[in-house]
Symmetry: C2
């Protein structure tokens, strides 16, 4: 499984993904699921992937192939992030055309999804979620984040503390708590976490970090948060119930 999240904030974009992949509980490995495409000074795009690793790697390879062979339309020359998201969707469809029948014969779904965001000069920064059918939706100030993969455990904390106006730092902190809640409940989501912040109108990749089990800050977060929640819980008034 995977857990990945992307935020559309007033001040920029924040992306994070875990790195665990598994094909059965006895075949667990680590793959980076955060990919950056950039032309510094002009555009930066980040792609987070979840689902079947063979499919997501094939999609990324197809996008890179478009850039390498200087296709008429590729991620580094399209004019808008919408057009770029359409290229991601087209790459998904191309892989589907190649692989879906064989996968179905093995009773395997064509299961993949992406969070894709960035900024191209002349436009605002934008964030999309691309489905396995190659279609996509765009985030807005009212719905300023997308999650893919194992999204439920880590959703309540995001809903309670993050808004479009939140800072990149707040989104980064919340992201670590969201991953902490998820990893406590689902062992198929695992460290390290790749995190990347993009500051709007910078047109270059921003702060990047790989958070692993040795990361002091991450280690302190889980303990801090559990203590804070237990304290808030103890302080919460009791109902007037005769239990």
């Amino acid at each position: 499984m995977t857990y990945a999240v992307g935020f559309l904030l007033q001040s920029g974009l924040l992306f994070a993904a875990d790195t665990r992949t598994n094909a059965g509980v006895d075949h667990v490995s680590t793959f980076r699921k955060l990919t950056i495409f950039e032309k510094p000074g002009n555009r930066v795009m980040t792609l987070l992937s979840a689902g079947n690793l063979a499919i997501s790697q094939a999609v990324i390879e197809e996008l890179r192939e478009g850039i390498r062979t200087k296709r008429k339309e590729n991620l580094l020359n399209v004019r808008s992030l919408f057009a770029a998201a359409r290229l991601v969707g087209a790459a998904v469809r191309k892989v589907h055309d190649t692989d879906a029948v064989a996968l179905r014969q093995q009773d395997t779904d064509f299961n993949v999804s992406f969070i894709f965001g960035g900024q191209i000069k002349g436009e605002q920064h934008r964030l999309f979620q691309v489905y396995s059918a190659g279609n996509f939706i765009e985030a807005s100030p009212d719905s300023p984040y997308f999650q893919i993969g194992e999204n439920k455990y880590g959703k309540p904390i995001i809903d309670r503390v993050i808004r479009h106006q939140s800072s990149l730092m707040e989104a980064a902190k919340c992201t670590l708590l969201s991953f902490d809640s998820t990893m406590r409940s689902n062992v198929s989501v695992g460290l390290p976490i790749n995190l990347m912040a993009y500051r709007k109108n910078s047109y270059k990749r921003g702060f990047e970090v790989e958070v692993d089990a040795m990361n002091d800050y991450y280690r302190s977060v889980g303990g801090y948060w559990s203590d804070a929640l237990r304290f808030a819980f103890q302080e919460m008034p009791n109902p007037d119930w005769k239990l």
Copy 2:
């Protein structure tokens, strides 16, 4: 959908279930999913149900029928809660035998699950989760709660604050927070919540409450908790990252 949770605590058992059922978004109604079987002074059993409402109602009816017709083995005369859980499982299998083929012809899964717990004189209080195949598992001090239905959103808060040693009051408070987190994220889980506490060795139904949208305590809980989390979040130290 449904969300229901049952706790096995040192001091007793706590059960809660929402009441929303839906067959499509334009067919939403309210049904009680918490059923009590009792012989005061001798035994109390509580059954929480999730899944297809027609199936869970048929299972409950089958259990009641066993009591009404004074079957050799029914919920009010078996000697142990394990034997009682086996009766629940047998009722599930009987309904499966009647309905599963017709359901499959309509592309509908035989989807049902139960949390079942209580105490019979001569035994400790016990808690079980019964699956749609009629088999079941029992809770233990290490894993002191079961959830059925839409369980993920409301799980992190339980994992952080509840242990087997927690009081019934703590479990009740945590249950409301857990439902609050779930209902914020999934509209197919809805008020009112039925909650029942059983104090061990009392052999009678304990405190019961139906928490609806007018319940002052419940209304205050969501706000209190959001404020407490936001405060704890703001107080959380920042990482040493240049975002």
